[in-house]
């Protein structure tokens, strides 16, 4: 006898093994689901961060470009 609710009704060992296996399966699948959703969340966070970073760098380059190459009319007016 491994475990019983009352001392007269023993739970067979194979039933207990099956219950534990089922419980383990549920816990492990819940863990897998959580890890899958965490992966998806990483994609969201990294994705938005990369988009802002790439476009931010592009903005800096464009600002630099705008400063380097001003329109000719403006330069003439200044002159």
């Amino acid at each position: 006898m491994i475990f019983s609710l009352d001392s007269n009704t023993p739970i067979p060992a194979d039933a207990l093994t099956a219950t534990i296996a089922l419980l383990y399966h549920h816990i492990s699948s819940a863990r897998q689901e959580r890890s899958r959703m965490l992966n998806a969340l990483w994609i969201v966070l990294l994705g938005m961060a990369i988009i802002f970073a790439v476009l931010g760098i592009l903005l800096l380059v464009m600002i630099l470009l705008g400063k380097l190459f001003k329109p000719r009319e403006k330069q003439e007016k200044k002159g």
Binding site: A40, F52, A53, I57, L65, G66
Partner: protein, 380 residues
Amino acid sequence: MDMAAGEFLGFLNLNWQAVAMLVISGVLMWLGIAKKVEPVLLVPIGFGCMLANIPLGGAAEAGGFLAVLREAGIHTEIFPLLIFIGIGAMIDFEPFLQRPYTIFLGAAAQFGIFATFILAYFLGDGWLQVLDFSLKDAAAIGIIGSADGPTSIYVATMLQSKYTAAIVVAAYSYMALVPLIQPPIIKAMCSKEERALKMPSVAGTISRRTKILFPIITVLVVGLLAPKATPLIGCLMFGNLLRECGVVERLSLAAQNELANIVTILLGITVGGMMAGTEFLRPETILVFMLGIVAFSLDTVAGVLLGKLMCVLSGRKINPMIGACGISAFPMSSRVVQKLGLEANPYNHLLMHAAGANVAGQIASVVAGGVMLMLVPMFI
């Protein structure tokens, strides 16, 4: 005799899916022709859909001309890339170059892609498993939020999603429906006072040298940081370089007219040909369409929220509505914002400001597509 008739008479082979799709094809063509809703897209798509659903017609079956076009143009990603050359040649990036800060509005308005992706994955393999959405399918569904047909086709095909047809049709349909989707969201988020806010006009023009260097530098920056976006951004910017360099006017005009028109015809009819009833009419397809509208709406919400923040930070010099134009759907969302601005204040002309955010959204949506293609395989 009955069997022989069934073998050559199409109407004897009609099933409910084919009938439903024939009705849908009729509605698409009616919207395009009678209501003038994006006729350039909806007429070919509607016609292709009709051809694909005529029993025994074989147009969309293996060896049929629509199947050949699908194989040659969609599966190889050639059509979206070619159409991007045409789009690039048509876009004037000056409104954006005059207001480079609008690039962040474009970035913010890609949020709908990622929010929809996580929602689709949650409903699918990620958690609830009530729908057959793998990580790749969820990413492809999310990309509807790029509000950009070619990017949606490219990303969905590259990710080999089962729902490519539905995704493409949803992307193009919702682009046509931007004038219906965006105004209620913008009105709910911006007070009349905010909508009436005038933006100062931008003084000065952009030098020709900057306009020529812009497409080259954009390809280098985006390509080196998000290499998976290179084909898309490369074709878009190649078209723009043809336009701006000023020495290949013939090629620029060909890209804007002949190339864009021919590929639009082929792409439209091929997309329609992907709408065979037996494959298309599934619960998942309806969900893809519903998630598509979620993506467009969340894009708009995120864009307007950043617009509001910029409005505050700039001392009310930026109308928050232009954030809604970050969703790329060019030029529909610019027109929406212009119309709403004029409704609130008859002297409030926001078109050029909105166009700046709109073309910024075009670049941002391509980057978002590349980022999705880069990240998803890393997490499988």
